[in-house]
Subunit: 139 residues, 3 copies
């Protein structure tokens, strides 16, 4: 049994879902671990992770729109407003989705379903560089 | 240290929570690993996982009803509608809950609390067969 | 490769976010595992976990307020009401956040981002003692 640590830097350009499956898969394939568990962890509280459909881009559009409506900017009772009108909604949207997700690795590849992709869900308006930790344990 | 991979196929019959604790526990007990970490991963984006109360069935009913109201079908601004009026709500409900959950294994059993059960949360109306990956690492 | 199990008991005093980062970090540092994966699991369905900002306390206040408004007590259509008006909202808030979170461990410390802290999110009104399982695997 062995393990490996990695890190992705994901440049985002505003709110939305950024597919990182290809980079994650590439890193996993480089680790000489055929079978095990991959953990993906995002080191931020205003961006998050989600596994969602990889086919119709309207899914990502509707998902983003849903979160904009569920947690609107400029909500009048927010107290945490000094970092911008998109900051507190970002924290809430982050807590409603995932900071971490783990995926079994089998036969040297991610155990994703046919229609699944791994996304960084950016909640802030301005471009950001998001740090994503990877950990793989197996053999 | 060793590991094992498994898979459950869960037949669902419409929206709702399906308790898979017994099947998961049975699989864990068959792996000869007394102590470690179990990971459960669902390979779909219109069904998800949640750990919830195993006692009063009204909890599951109210939970389902809450998600129906939070993410209504036939929401007029949804663009992703070709797969049916229940498809886009399913993706959103899936992102609001969990694609993966890990549970410590101690003394050969799941480290669940007294009132906890593991559920597949089906978000689609039509019957489906849901694939759930299991991964156990330990000794 | 080795592993360790631990447990925290967290005394809560009503709804809100309780920072457990210091206790979790202390436990990890005592395990003689410099590199690996930490898993945190809460054995309850009316309290949950979230990783959120550790700086401005208004973030926690706004987060709590958001969940109070999203899942109000005394919602008239709730059926599960025998355990109090705060019980069913607690189950829903728990499912909308996390029962488990895993964090890579590097150089003997949690791989958290600069602004991240680990919180027990208490959803019930009355004081509770919450049981949190810890599992660390690595070397």
């Amino acid at each position: 049994m062995k393990q490996a640590h990695g890190e992705l830097k994901v440049a985002t350009r505003g709110k939305g879902l950024y597919d990182v499956t290809r980079e994650v898969r590439k890193w996993v394939r480089g680790q000489q671990i055929q079978s095990g568990l991959l953990t993906i962890f995002i080191q931020h509280t205003s961006a998050s992770l989600t596994i969602q459909e990889n086919a119709d881009p309207d899914v990502r559009g509707d998902l983003g729109e849903f979160f904009k409506r569920l947690v609107p900017e400029n909500t009048p009772w927010f107290r945490h407003t000094t970092e911008g009108s998109d900051d507190m909604p970002s924290h809430i949207r982050s807590t409603l989705t995932s900071t971490q997700v783990s995926v079994p690795v089998r036969s040297g590849d991610l155990g994703l379903g046919t229609w699944q992709a791994i996304y960084v869900f950016e909640h802030r308006i301005q471009p950001q560089v998001r740090h994503v930790l990877l950990h793989l344990i197996g053999e």
